[in-house]
């Protein structure tokens, strides 16, 4: 399938692309942690009985979901320095992706929590459980099961969307590919490799999600 020329070029380009892969992994992992934590807090705020707590979360989610990720990244990287917040491209990249995805995560978590039978909460309350204990012992274990399949999809989407960070010069996989391609003009070789590498990185995630679903989905 692949010619000798392709394989020779691949041997030459792969070490550089591998560095890009590593940056992509770090970028995705940090954005995932950030979006999960922020999304969780936003989801709880959205479910609050108090309008004053709900309202900021709802507004935040609406605004973030309505702006393209690439615009958010540009804003953080190029506009924030004007208001005194200077970030490296990598920092801007994972913070931007983390914030952008927190809105999707929040809606996913909220749906998972809302799907839990109201009676579960009442049963826990009548045992005398306080909010945080109830959250940890009753809501979370059940919400995680409901939330996992969409969470897996989000992880994979995030891995792919981390390529958007190439536009603000983060030296992740896509960016490294573009740099090699523009200096060697071997577009076919480079972008085939880039595509294969993204695919390779997403496959373990697919397997992981499948395993988690089985692990938490039983009974």
């Amino acid at each position: 399938m692949f010619s000798d020329a392709f394989l020779n070029d691949a041997r030459e380009f792969l070490p550089i692309l591998a560095q890009g892969c590593w940056t992509t992994v770090k970028l995705t992992a940090l954005a995932l942690v950030m979006s999960t934590a922020l999304g969780f807090v936003l989801a709880l705020m959205r479910l609050s009985p108090y309008a004053l707590v709900r309202w900021p979360a709802t507004t935040f989610i609406t605004v973030i979901r309505g702006i393209p990720i690439i615009v958010q990244l540009f804003y953080i990287y190029f506009v924030f320095p004007d208001i005194g917040i200077s970030l490296t491209a990598f920092q801007a990249g994972f913070i931007g992706l983390g914030i952008a995805y927190s809105a999707y995560q929040a809606e996913n978590f909220r749906a998972g929590i809302e799907a839990i039978d109201r009676g579960q909460i009442e049963a826990a309350q009548s045992l005398g459980m306080r909010y945080l204990l109830l959250l940890r012992r009753v809501i979370m274990p059940q919400a995680i099961r409901i939330t996992l399949p969409p969470y897996g999809n989000t992880m994979i989407m995030m891995l792919k969307d981390s390529s958007i960070a190439s536009t603000i010069t983060v030296a992740e996989l896509m960016r490294q590919g573009q740099l090699i391609a523009s200096s060697t003009f071997k577009n076919m070789t480079v972008f085939t490799l880039v595509a294969l590498l993204y695919l390779t990185m997403s496959l373990p995630l697919t397997v992981l999600v499948h395993w988690l679903e089985k692990r938490f989905g039983r009974r």
């Binding site: 009442e122 049963a123 309350q125 005398g128 459980m129 059940q142 009974r219």
Partner: protein, 243 residues
């Protein structure tokens, strides 16, 4: 022990509870009957702060019970609740359901909670189902686990909200027998129910609620056999002839 004075609650213009006053003594078994929408579940749920009320007072052993009270979590540990739809935690086994409250709320050492939990499940006839998940149990078995779960907290009173209404008829007996045993052991119980047989056999007192008011109360004999109020007679006719 439980004291309800002039309790009222309204949703808009609909009065769910209308000036309800009631005293329940220690070890007393009180059955609340009435049509759906009569306010009987609401009254029961006020007693452990799952439901709020607009005016009046509700105390258990002199301490005020209010949904938005700062101390409500602690007070709830003394008031057990058994629900119509069991509400067992589906991700935990029978024994895990029973020890959840003692371990995480009352900080009882795990070994002790386990020992007591096993004894309770034995008592409700489920000693062989300790490690079964709720999904593997029948409705009657689930409800008995739920009773054991509430007993594990060593409550001063247990509230039952139509505990047999979601059960297949042949499973009702097992649950009622456990409840009868509790009554005989002196547990204070408030039971919202449609089981007239249980009310007749076990209750010390029967209350008939209608449109948020206690229309009639007295011994099972008085209320169920010789009801004075026309609405009570009407209700009992419908319940008994429904079968």
């Amino acid at each position: 022990m439980i004291s309800v004075t002039h309790l009222s609650k309204a949703f808009g213009t609909h009065r769910v509870l209308d000036d309800v006053s009631l005293e329940i003594a220690k070890s007393e078994v009180v059955c609340i009957i009435g049509a759906s929408g009569s306010g009987k579940s609401t009254l029961l749920r006020c007693m452990n702060g799952l439901e709020s009320y607009d005016s009046g007072e509700l105390t258990i052993e002199g301490r005020s019970i209010r949904k938005d009270d700062r101390d409500i979590h602690r007070l709830r540990t003394e008031v057990g609740m058994v629900f119509q739809r069991f509400n067992l935690f589906p991700h935990r086994t029978a024994i895990q359901n029973v020890i959840e409250g003692p371990i995480y709320v009352k900080k009882v050492p795990k070994a002790q909670a386990l020992e007591e939990g096993r004894a309770l499940l034995n008592k409700v006839g489920l000693g062989d189902k300790l490690d079964a998940y709720p999904a593997k149990l029948s409705g009657g078995q689930q409800q008995r686990v739920a009773i054991a779960r509430s007993l594990a907290m060593k409550p001063k009173v247990i509230l039952f909200d139509e505990p047999t209404s979601a059960l297949d008829p042949e499973l009702v007996g097992d649950v009622l027998r456990v409840m009868q045993q509790l009554a005989e052991e002196g547990m204070t119980m408030v039971v919202v129910t449609h089981e007239m047989g249980f009310a007749r056999e076990v209750a010390d007192r029967v209350l008939f609620l209608d449109q948020g008011r206690i229309l009639e109360q007295g011994t099972p004999e008085d209320v169920l056999k010789n009801p004075k109020n026309e609405r009570t007679r009407d209700f009992l006719r419908r319940v008994i002839h429904a079968i």
